[in-house]
C-alpha cells in the first residue's frame, strides 16, 4: 500500500505535471475562494499535509532531502506561503462581501480608531520578538549548521545548486540561456517590481484585503510570486537532483539518470521540416522566422492589443505606462511560452545564434 502510493507519486512527478498542477491549484483556489477560505478547509489541508509528512518520513530518500539543515527553511517557506495566501484570501472574501453590502471592510471598521502606541503596539511587538527569539534559539540548538568538506576547485559536486532563493532562476536555465535566465530576467523582475506602483492605476484596494476590487493585480501576483517564484524554489530544492534531472520525492538520486535531450531550434522546424531545404548559412536569414516572431511578439503585439482587447486600459494608462507594463508582462509570458514549446515540440531556441551567444 505504502509502496504503491510512493510509486504513484514518483510516476506522476515530472516538471510538466508539477507546473500544470500548481497552476490548476491556484486557479481553483481563486474560483472557489468562498468555499476554500472556510477555516475547516485549512484545518483539513493541514491535517492531510502532516499525515503525508508522517507517512513519507520513513522513506530514506524523502527523509534525506527533507531533513537537510538548509532545506528546513524551504518547508517553512512552503507552509507560510500557503498559510498567508489563505489568510489574505479569507480576509479578501469577507471584505468583498462587506463592500457588496455597503458595509465598511474589516480594516475600515477600525481605521478611524486611534490607539496609543504604548501599550497597544509596543507590547505585541515585544511578544512577537520574544517568541521569535525562542523559536530561533531552539532551532539553532536542535539543528547544526551544515559544513561540508573544505573547498576543492577540482571536484564539482553533482548537483551544483545555487543558494535556495535563486533556484527559481536556476530552473529557468532549463529553458533559457544564462544571459536571459541569469541576467536579463532577474533585472526585469527588479525593474518590473519597481514599476508596479506606477503601472497599477486602479485607485481601489488601497489598505485592505480584497479580490473583487483588483482581480487582475491579485491573480498576476499569485502567478508571479507563488507560481513562478516560490513553487520553482520548492521544485529546485526537493525535486531536482544530479545533472539537474527531475526526481520524484521518493526517488533515489541516481547520478546516471539522464533525460534524453533532442531539442531543435525554430529555424530547423521552419527550413528543414516545413520547407524541406537545408538551413541557410547567413545567421540572420536562418533565424528570420524566430526574429520575425519575436518582433511581432514584442513590438506589434502591444500595439494590436492597445487597439483591441486592451483599449480601455490603454486609454486609462497612457502610452508610457502601457508600454512599460506590456513589455514586462510579455517578458514574463515568454517563460511559459518557452516551457510549453519545450514540452510540446522539443523546442530549443526561438532564435539560435550561437555565433553571437545570442539565443532566445
Amino acid at each position: 500500500m505504502g509502496q504503491a502510493i510512493r510509486d504513484l507519486v514518483d510516476a506522476m512527478a515530472n516538471p510538466v505535471i508539477y507546473f500544470l498542477g500548481s497552476t490548476v491549484a491556484i486557479i481553483v483556489f481563486i474560483l472557489f475562494r468562498r468555499l476554500l477560505t472556510k477555516p475547516i478547509v485549512l484545518i483539513g489541508f493541514t491535517i492531510f499535509s502532516v499525515a503525508f509528512l508522517v507517512f513519507a518520513w520513513s522513506d530514506p530518500n524523502f527523509n534525506k532531502i527533507i531533513t537537510k539543515g538548509d532545506n528546513i527553511p524551504i518547508l517553512i517557506l512552503l507552509s507560510s506561503v500557503v498559510g498567508f495566501t489563505w489568510l489574505g484570501m479569507r480576509r479578501a472574501v469577507i471584505n468583498d462581501d462587506r463592500i457588496a453590502r455597503g458595509e465598511p471592510t474589516l480594516e475600515g471598521e477600525v481605521s478611524k480608531q486611534k490607539v496609543f502606541t504604548w501599550p497597544d503596539l509596543v507590547y505585541p511587538e515585544l511578544i512577537c520578538l520574544v517568541l521569535f527569539t525562542a523559536l530561533l534559539v531552539t532551532w539553532s540548538i536542535v539543528v547544526e549548521a551544515p559544513l561540508e568538506e573544505p573547498a576543492a576547485s577540482a571536484r564539482t559536486p553533482n548537483p551544483s545548486k545555487a543558494p535556495w532563493y535563486f533556484l527559481g532562476l536556476q530552473e529557468l536555465l532549463v529553458y533559457f540561456d544564462p544571459w536571459l535566465a541569469g541576467v536579463l530576467l532577474p533585472s526585469f523582475i527588479v525593474i518590473g517590481l519597481m514599476a508596479i506602483p506606477y503601472c497599477d492605476t486602479n485607485p481601489k484596494g488601497n489598505g485592505y484585503y480584497t479580490f473583487n476590487d483588483r482581480p487582475f493585480a491579485i491573480s498576476f501576483f499569485y502567478a508571479g510570486f507563488v507560481l513562478f517564484w516560490v513553487s520553482f524554489v520548492i521544485l529546485g530544492t526537493f525535486l531536482r537532483g544530479p545533472n539537474w534531472s527531475f526526481f520524484g520525492p521518493f526517488e533515489y538520486w541516481d547520478l546516471h539518470k539522464l533525460e534524453p535531450m533532442v531539442n531543435i531550434d525554430l529555424s530547423t522546424f521552419f527550413w528543414v521540416k516545413a520547407l524541406g531545404v537545408p538551413r541557410p548559412d547567413n545567421p540572420l536569414i536562418r533565424e528570420a522566422p524566430g526574429l520575425i516572431f519575436l518582433g511581432g511578439f514584442f513590438v506589434i503585439g502591444p500595439l494590436i492589443l492597445a487597439k483591441t482587447v486592451c483599449k480601455k486600459i490603454f486609454e486609462q494608462m497612457g502610452m508610457v505606462r502601457y508600454q512599460v507594463m506590456m513589455h514586462m508582462l510579455l517578458w514574463f509570458a515568454l517563460i511559459p511560452l518557452k516551457m510549453f514549446g519545450r514540452w510540446l515540440f522539443d523546442l530549443k531556441y526561438l532564435v539560435g545564434m550561437p555565433e553571437y551567444f545570442f539565443n532566445i
Binding site: 477600525v110 496609543f116 504604548w118 527588479v190 551567444f357 545570442f358
Partner: protein, 258 residues
C-alpha cells in the same frame, strides 16, 4: 508591590532614564514614545487597523528584528573568522568543534534564511493590501532595493564558510555574470567589442572577473565577498531601512482605508 513600583518610578534613577512616570496615563503614554529615542520610530498613536497581526502579519517588523540578530551574531562571528583561503574553513570548523554550546553560527545562518522568507512575505502582504498605491509608491521602491540587498547579503555570506557547498553555490551563481550582454565574455554583443581580432572583453576582464577578482571563485573573491557582507551591504541596508521607516510615517502611517 505597588508601593515598590511607585518608589522606583519616582526615584531619580528612573526619572533620569525615562523622564516620565510609568506609562499608564495618556500623558505618560505619549511621553513614553516621544521621549524615547528607539520608540519614537513610532507615532504616539496608531490606527487600530494597522497594528492588527492579521493585517501586517508582522513581517516588516520581523525582518528588521532578524536584521538586528544578524548584526549581533555576525559581529560575534567576526571575532573568530579570518577571511583567507587557508584559514576560513579552519576557523568555521574550530567554531563547531571547540566552542561549547556554540550556537552563534546556527543563529546567524537560520536567521539569515528566515530573513529572506520574511522579506518575501512582507512584500507579498504589501502587495495584497495594495499598500504600494499612492502615496506609498516610493517606499515600495525603497523596499524593492532592500529586497535585493537582503538577497545579496545572504548570497555574499554563503561563500564565507569556504566549504564545497559554499564555493560551488557561488560558482553556479556567479557563472551567470559571464553571460551578461556586452560586459560578459560569453554574453551576446561582447564579441562586437573587438578590433582586428583583439577582444576587449575576455575571461580576464569581464564583469565576472570584477566580481570575483579572478577567473574563478578564489582568494580574491573570498575577501571581496567578506568586505561586502560585513561592511558594504549592511551599511547600505541600514541607511535604506532608516529611510524606509521614516517614509512609512511620512506617508501617513501603515496603510488603511481612508
Amino acid at each position: 508591590m505597588n508601593k515598590l513600583w511607585k518608589l522606583i518610578a519616582e526615584g531619580q534613577l528612573w526619572r533620569s532614564l525615562f523622564r516620565h512616570g510609568y506609562p499608564d496615563t495618556p500623558r505618560n503614554r505619549t511621553l513614553a514614545v516621544l521621549s524615547n529615542f528607539f520608540l519614537h520610530l513610532h507615532p504616539v498613536k496608531v490606527r487600530r487597523s494597522g497594528i492588527r497581526l492579521s493585517y501586517t502579519w508582522c513581517m516588516g517588523g520581523l525582518t528588521f528584528f532578524l536584521f538586528l540578530i544578524e548584526t549581533l551574531t555576525g559581529l560575534l562571528l567576526m571575532f573568530y573568522y579570518r577571511p583567507t583561503a587557508e584559514l576560513a574553513y579552519q576557523d568555521i570548523f574550530a567554531l563547531r568543534e571547540h566552542v561549547p554550546i556554540g550556537i552563534m553560527r546556527e543563529l546567524h545562518r537560520w536567521s539569515a534564511h528566515m530573513m529572506v522568507i520574511t522579506v518575501w512575505l512582507h512584500m507579498y502582504r504589501v502587495f495584497l493590501t495594495g499598500s504600494y498605491k499612492p502615496p506609498r509608491e516610493f517606499n515600495w521602491n525603497i523596499g524593492v532595493i532592500l529586497l535585493v540587498l537582503t538577497l545579496l547579503l545572504s548570497f555574499t555570506g554563503y561563500l564565507l564558510p569556504w566549504d564545497q557547498l559554499a564555493v560551488w553555490a557561488i560558482t553556479v551563481g556567479t557563472n551567470m555574470a559571464r553571460a551578461t550582454p556586452i560586459l560578459g565574455h560569453e554574453g551576446p554583443g561582447a564579441a562586437l567589442l573587438s578590433i582586428g581580432g583583439l577582444d576587449f572583453i575576455h575571461a580576464g576582464d569581464d564583469v565576472r572577473f570584477g566580481l570575483l577578482a579572478g577567473r574563478f571563485v578564489g582568494e580574491g573573491a573570498l575577501l571581496r565577498f567578506y568586505v561586502l557582507h560585513c561592511v558594504g551591504i549592511p551599511l547600505a541596508a541600514a541607511v535604506l531601512m532608516a529611510v524606509h521607516f521614516w517614509r512609512v510615517r511620512k506617508d501617513g502611517g501603515i496603510s488603511g482605508p481612508l
